[in-house]
Amino acid sequence: MKFAKSNKPQGRDPDTEARLAALLESVEDAGESILGAGPIVLMTRVRLARNLSRFPFTGWAKEAQRSDILAECTSAVRALPQMKKGIAFTMEELSDHEKQLLVERHLISRELSASKAGSGVVISRDCTCSIMVNEEDHLRMQVIKPGFQLKRVWKTMNAVDSALEESLDYAFDTELGYLTACPTNLGTGLRASAMMHLPALVITGQMDKIVRALNQLGLVVRGLHGEGTDASGSIFQISNQTTLGESEAAIIDRLHNVLTTVFRQEMNAREKLLEAEPVKLFDKIGRAYGLLQNARLVTSAEALNLLSLLRLGVDLGGFPAALRLVTNRLIILSQPAHIQHATDAEADPAQRDILRAELLRKALADFPRPEFTHSGPPPAAE
């Protein structure tokens, strides 16, 4: 798939590009502001689904109603103190390539990027809060922060929601809670998740068992890019499945406890790998380092796998800790739309593989060679 830069919607606000550029620049050091500076938990996210009581849900609303919903929600959202200097887009004013950029930054969902007329998003200047209008629900709001900070993220999200409630009449039923287009989101409308980097659990073949156990606890595990375990850079999103019958605090607490356990399991698996097969492990990391520094064609899936191993190398002390941020940045910048964004020419996937390899070679040219002298346990939990 090409992410054509030229198909910009006709007659759009000339300011659109400048706003997008400001947004992407404001997280120029994307490695730090999006993915965590510590091991294992890359980022934490909480989202809430809300609807206005007076209108049909987005999927059933007429076009005129959708634009009323968009206008009402956008003006309420823009008035939030949390959205001071926030940046708003309608989906109609963005090209496919620009929408994909926002998807890759986790600022909008794929569903929103594919939506019909009358959808939009407001994104806070620091990109931690984004509020989508007319996705599946009238409002899909999220707070994302790097690292493992579930409770703090929920607190921020809760405050945004309470502030919005001052001016918007939410659809709410005392028995069923917040009413959502899909009954699977009913009640709290809350989905909390953490994106976790679990290479040792994948290498030691324990991931299937963990996924089953998490499912039994009512949690869902998804890959970052598809379901294949190793093809996903060993990055998994773990979130709650159910939203009704449990309070927000209970959902957050339960998820927090389970994620802490998964964190410990990954640490244990790393320790065991280091004890049992250190050479095999260091070999994997060394090979990833060699490929990234020399390859000429790298697909986005391969880049993610190799960068995942490099990040593990940092965690195990083979590279200076500060370089974890370099791996974070590259994980984001090596995605398809980001590669396209960095070049003026229209690149097809094969050309993007060349550009990606170039980006990685340049960025890692000064990355020191891995030195594994460390034989003790990996660094302690956050």
Binding site: R110, F172, P183, T188, V220, R222
Partner: protein, 170 residues
């Protein structure tokens, strides 16, 4: 293979096999690649099996169990029908939750931890709604009182309306 597993939706050979455990109940679905794509199974950001099951396409029996014995439910507010729900797995408007409650309750039990909300309440919005409802009722009573020349009552209603309108948040 002599007997390949068939796609639960279209009957073509299935290549995607899903198992999810929701509230200790195992749900299994086999899909061909096209249906898996169409249902968003390959999209890691938005797939849940509960979602798929709920569309009724795979498991119509589970949904019909909760129906009001043949009579098709329709939302009086937005015109959304039970058929529409089976097709898209989403409701039409917030009022649909009242209209479809008979079929909804058994479904919620298998989908969630409980069937009653416990958690945040949009207190400000609820207060606003109850104030609005009280005002509408008082205004109707005021009109009626004036029409039937009960001027003392009318004055009382007018004072009450004025008082409510002066309270902050109204």
């Amino acid at each position: 293979m002599a007997n390949p597993i068939k796609c639960s939706l279209c009957g073509k050979p299935a290549t995607v096999h899903l198992t999810q455990i929701i509230n200790n109940k195992i749900h299994k679905v086999d899909l061909c690649e096209d249906c898996a794509k169409a249902k968003g199974v390959t999209d890691p950001s938005g797939f849940s099996l509960a979602d798929l099951l709920l569309k009724g396409a795979l498991n119509p029996e589970t949904i019909t169990e909760g129906e009001g014995h043949g009579a098709e439910l329709v939302c009086p507010n937005c015109g959304f029908t039970q058929q529409d729900f089976k097709k898209v797995g989403r409701f039409g408007c917030p009022k649909c939750y009242e209209a479809f409650r008979p079929m909804l309750v058994p479904m919620l039990g298998s989908m969630h931890k409980g069937v009653a909300h416990s958690g945040k309440v949009p207190q400000r919005a609820l207060d606003r709604r109850s104030i609005y409802e009280r005002l509408t009722k008082l205004e109707m009573e005021l009109d009626l009182a004036i029409k039937t020349e009960r001027y003392e009552d009318a004055a009382r209603f007018r004072d009450e309306i004025r008082q409510i309108k002066q309270t902050p948040g109204a």
